[in-house]
């Protein structure tokens, strides 16, 4: 009996000690740039469910999109040609907790620079100027944000500021928040809502996939996308801003924008760059 008691006490103490040992200083507070140089990689949070920006290719198991290409180009620009970007999948729902938890160095995942977010995160300069719009079934009576009156339902994605924007622009409508864009689009197609609202770039990606659904009403907000970093990561922010300017200057940026967005009908490349 005594032996068992002793043994159990030891076991419990081991678990407690193990947990306590894990509670060190948060990685989120360490200098991310210095760490990136040491490991020769930057850990990026990217979307895996968003056509044109970051979409998983099931054949190759690789994520493809404008933001993925940008992450690769920026990593090489900051750390040198031999460096590689490490890509971690995030959703609108998971990107902030993961960044703050130190799982990621930077997030390049269709994330708008907003004052609320700037209170808890740092952003680089904008790399894409999106605007929020609406996606509806072809022939829908909803033509613009003004048609979202009482009794209509709009689908959005959890953790994205587009939900708040809809609430401001059309207070009477009901907003349903789903976990990611794939589920949101599936819900729209199942008739769970009358429109899906988020940034136009993402909506054009959906419309490209299913032409029965169209983007209507133009943009009703300005959504400059920035790369999100943990507060206080000034070195990494400066390095990324410099790299962004260099990529714009040497034509890489324009090449990537054209690669992903030049074939999209109704989409104005000059507006976003």
């Amino acid at each position: 009996m005594h032996k068992l008691k002793l043994w159990l006490t030891v076991a419990v103490l081991c678990v407690v000690a193990g947990v306590a040992a894990g509670c060190g200083r948060s990685v989120a507070d360490q200098d991310a740039l210095a760490h990136a140089k040491k490991t020769n990689t930057i850990v990026w949070g990217v979307k895996a469910d968003t056509r044109l920006f970051g979409l998983m290719n099931t054949k190759t198991g690789k994520i493809q999109g404008f933001e993925v290409d940008m992450a690769n180009a920026l990593t090489k620009q900051v750390l040198g040609k031999s460096a590689k970007a490490t890509l971690v999948q995030v959703t609108s729902d998971t990107r902030v907790p993961m960044l703050k938890g130190g799982n990621l160095d930077a997030v390049i995942a269709t994330m708008t620079i907003t004052p609320e977010r700037q209170k808890v995160l740092d952003f680089t300069d904008s790399y894409f100027k999106a605007g929020q719009s609406l996606l509806v079934k072809k022939g829908s009576k909803i033509k613009s944000i003004k048609d979202l009156t009482a009794g209509t339902k709009v689908i959005g994605v959890q953790g994205s500021n587009s939900v708040d924007n809809v609430k401001k622009a059309a207070p009477a409508t009901t907003v349903l928040q789903l976990a990611d864009y794939a589920q949101a689009f599936t819900a729209l197609k199942s008739g769970q809502g009358d429109a899906l609202s988020t940034d136009n770039g993402i909506l054009y990606g959906m419309s490209q996939q299913d032409p029965d659904y169209v983007v209507v009403g133009g943009t009703f907000t300005k959504e400059p996308y920035g790369i999100a970093l943990n507060k206080g990561q000034t070195n990494l922010r400066k390095a990324l801003n410099k790299a962004l300017q260099e990529l714009r200057a040497d034509g890489t940026y324009e090449k990537l924008i054209n690669k992903w967005f030049s074939d999209i009908p109704g989409f104005d490349i000059k507006e976003v760059a």
Binding site: L176, L178, G191
Partner: protein
């Protein structure tokens, strides 16, 4: 942590309300459906037994998330419009009913076979013997495991968060996203779930002890 609770009190309480509502609706219907399928499983008719067994085995072995998403995505497309709350509650009902069917079947079968035979030999029909002799005894046996199913049901109702069902977990996720204060938010949400489930859990333990000794 307190600020999360005070600043979002209304939202959290409405979430708690939806969680409770969904759980209660699902409880009532899954009890009815579960009992029906349990009776089918032990019915003297072969094809009723097959249907009952099939339903229970299929539903029990598929994740709740798949059943719920099926109702959220497929049913409105082809049959009739159901919103997230309804789809979640239907999914919850069907999933739980399979477990309740198993519990009730085991309860009925644990009532000695002699009881049924005795009742039949004094001239009662199968239905009369079942409803007046066997069933009342079985209920006493199945109450504790049914209580556990109800606790599971309350916890499983967090599935509504996947289909925008306005429940406690859904509101918790939204608050976590809005405040960026993930830790405290989930702590508060966890406490609210415990307020629902802990008393139930202790009540069940109490009943179990009382009935085992009785």
């Amino acid at each position: 942590m307190l600020s999360i609770l005070t600043n979002n009190y209304g939202t959290l309480m409405s979430g708690l309300g939806y969680t409770l509502l969904s759980s209660l609706i699902a409880l009532v219907f899954s009890l009815i459906i579960g009992t029906v399928f349990a009776l089918m499983e032990i019915s003297p008719h072969k094809w009723l037994r097959v249907i009952g067994k099939l339903y229970v085995e299929v539903i029990r072995n598929i994740p709740l998330l798949i059943i719920t998403m099926g109702f959220y995505v497929i049913v409105p497309k082809y049959l009739l419009p159901v919103d997230g709350f309804t789809a979640g509650t239907i999914g919850l009902t069907i999933y739980t009913s399979a477990f309740i069917a198993e519990t009730v079947r085991a309860g009925i079968q644990s009532v000695a076979v002699g009881q049924m035979e005795g009742a039949r030999s004094v001239g009662l029909t199968y239905t009369q013997a079942m409803s007046q002799i066997v069933f009342p005894q079985a209920i006493k046996i199945v109450i504790p495991p049914l209580g556990n199913q109800f606790i599971n049901l309350v916890k499983n109702s967090s599935i509504l968060a996947f289909v925008a069902g306005f429940d406690l977990m859904y509101q918790g996720k939204i608050i976590a996203n809005a405040t960026f204060n993930t830790f405290d938010t989930y702590l508060v949400v966890g406490l609210l779930y415990l307020i629902l489930t802990m008393p139930l859990s202790y009540l069940m333990r109490h009943l179990e002890k009382k009935w085992v000794t009785a």
